[in-house]
């Protein structure tokens, strides 16, 4: 549905986006993740035709944004970082203006009514936008993107500056929209992505550093599995046994939690699951395993690891130069 190939945007010497490439399949909700200033907005602005790339192509539903900008833009509903609202208009005037601007062919009253119901702005329909709270303004911004029922929706940091309840509301809304639309959601808030998105693309310093399904994202980081075990048995012997299991790269005692068991921290090779062999080895020795905890990396760790890795790579590159 969305295909970005080798997008590069250069401002003088500085790269805002460097060879950014990814695709989003139809019906997918894609999380576009990166720290502030990583190049998220730049990429999205290029995708929506607001900016032009220095090189590379962006296609929406097979239409190149440069070759047929009007055709491509007709397929996109875009909520920029700052909602493009005319503050002195009422919500009604504004939505009608956008309806005309996008040359929407759907039944006007029915369509606008439906959108207002979905984003819950019916009760402010007649009010001047200037007087609305940030949450409502954001909703009006989303409403604007929905007009014309475009197959692709792009939200650039839609929950910034909202209170926790509003954030949850907007998230739920986006998740619902994701059922019928292809969605790109840009954010620097990790739980948001975890909660909504099927797939995650991580960008840092203008470069894509990961592009994975949400559940696979942790694998994008090479690393070790870390686990803690509670085992009843002689401490040193257990430690020796742990170290002898194939795949274990590191083991240490982290203390006695209760009288007769000891806690061990074990790191293993990522590709090898040591839990089963460990269980049988302990059973053979009749040392009961009474607790096991896999310290999975959450998105937060993954993100930091990715960004960190990338930063180091950047430094190395810099050194070479």
């Amino acid at each position: 549905m969305i295909e970005i190939k080798g997008i590069t945007k250069r401002y003088g010497e500085k790269y805002a986006a460097k060879d950014v490439t990814f695709t989003v399949n139809a019906g997918e909700v894609m999380g576009f993740l990166g720290p502030n200033g990583a190049g998220k907005s730049t990429t999205l602005n290029i995708l929506t035709g607001y900016l032009s790339a220095t090189s590379g192509t962006a296609c929406i539903d097979g239409i190149d944004i440069l070759q047929d900008p009007i055709g491509a833009k007709a397929k996109i509903g875009f909520l920029p970082e700052q909602p493009p609202l005319y503050l002195d208009m009422t919500v009604k005037e504004y939505l009608n203006f956008v309806y005309d601007l996008k040359r929407c062919k759907l039944d006007r009253k029915k369509h606008l009514d439906e959108i207002c119901r979905v984003v819950k702005i019916r009760d402010v329909y007649g009010r001047v936008i200037r007087n609305l709270s940030k949450g409502y303004r954001q909703r009006v911004g989303i409403a604007q993107a929905l007009i014309g029922n475009p197959p692709v929706l792009i939200f650039d940091e839609p929950t910034v500056g909202l209170d926790p309840k509003q954030i949850i509301d907007i998230r739920n809304l986006i998740r619902d929209l994701g059922r019928e639309h292809t969605v790109i959601l840009s954010t620097h808030i990790l739980p948001e992505v975890q909660a909504i998105c099927d797939r995650i693309v991580v960008i840092n310093n203008g470069e894509i550093v990961a592009d994975e399904k949400t559940e696979n994202i942790a694998r994008a980081v090479e690393g070790k599995r870390r686990m803690t075990f509670n085992i009843c048995g002689p401490r040193n012997d257990v430690l020796k046994l742990l170290k002898s299991i194939p795949g274990v790269t590191y083991a240490e005692v982290i203390g006695n939690r209760d009288l007769d068991s000891t806690s061990f921290l074990v790191e293993s090779d990522e590709k090898i699951d040591i839990r089963k062999p460990l269980f049988f080895a302990l059973a053979e020795k009749r040392w009961p395993l009474i607790g096991m905890d896999v310290m999975g990396m959450d998105l937060e760790d993954v993100f930091l690891a990715l960004v960190d890795k990338n930063a180091k790579k950047g430094v190395r590159k810099g050194e070479k130069q």
Binding site: Y50, I70, P80, P84, Y86
Partner: protein, 234 residues
């Protein structure tokens, strides 16, 4: 295009600017009219329109100063530039909206002329051709104003620069009298708005002048589009 046109026209009257423009124009033009025709005891509107041209320097920026600077500042340009419409049609719609208010007010002020017809024998041909000339010049000034507005985020800067730009085209023919270097003088006369305007005041329709004013309008609207294009690419 119609959507942007309607929006711009409406926005003049949501805020005070549309009313201020119309009130000021009608008030000042009435005063000028009274002094240049009624008190002078003449049916000739050339002097009247000469003064009106100077009035444009101050009033036309009111119509154009916000037009693009405000969109840029509030980032609302993003919806215009990411909607399935061409940039040219957006700019043209904005121009048309400003020109509509300008021309509408000008035509209302033409009601003054009823007095001339009631108490004198003015030449209808001259009156029509002069008004037409004024409309064309106004279109060029509006286009200049829109271009300036596209170059800044600050309304005030847009207004001041537009005033200076329009005023300088108006005083060029006066200044050219002091220039002894012939090529420069020729260029100044060529750029001068007044020189071509006088043909209209003799009651004949100068096709070259028409072409000149339309070209100026088109060139500045084109430059406005380029300003946006350039920002996209830089």
């Amino acid at each position: 295009m119609l959507a942007v046109y309607k929006k711009e026209l409406r926005s003049y009257f949501i805020g005070p600017i549309g009313y201020i423009y119309m009130a000021l124009y009608l008030l000042v033009s009435s005063l000028i009219f009274t002094y240049t025709t009624l008190y002078a005891g003449t049916c000739d509107v050339t002097t009247y329109y000469t003064f009106i041209l100077y009035l444009f320097a101050i009033l036309i920026p009111l119509l154009t100063m916000r037009m693009l600077s405000e969109e840029k500042k509030s980032r609302t340009e993003q919806i215009l530039l990411t909607s399935p419409v061409s940039l040219t049609s957006v700019i043209f719609a904005k121009f048309l909206a400003a020109f509509t208010l300008f021309a509408g007010t000008l035509l209302i002020s033409c009601l003054h002329f009823i007095i001339l017809f009631a108490y004198g024998t003015p030449s209808t041909a001259i009156m029509i051709s002069t008004t037409l000339g004024i409309l064309l010049i106004g279109a060029a000034f509006v286009a200049i104003g829109i271009f300036v507005s596209a170059c800044t985020e600050n309304q005030l800067v847009a207004a001041l620069v537009t005033i200076v730009a329009i005023a300088s085209t108006l005083v060029l023919n006066v200044l050219s009298g002091y220039v002894s270097f012939t090529p420069l003088r020729v260029v100044m006369r060529w750029l001068s708005v007044f020189d071509r305007f006088y043909a209209f005041t003799y009651g004949y329709f100068d096709f070259v002048a028409l072409l000149y004013y339309v070209s100026v309008t088109v060139v500045f609207l084109f430059l406005t589009v380029r300003v946006f294009e350039k920002r996209r690419w830089e």
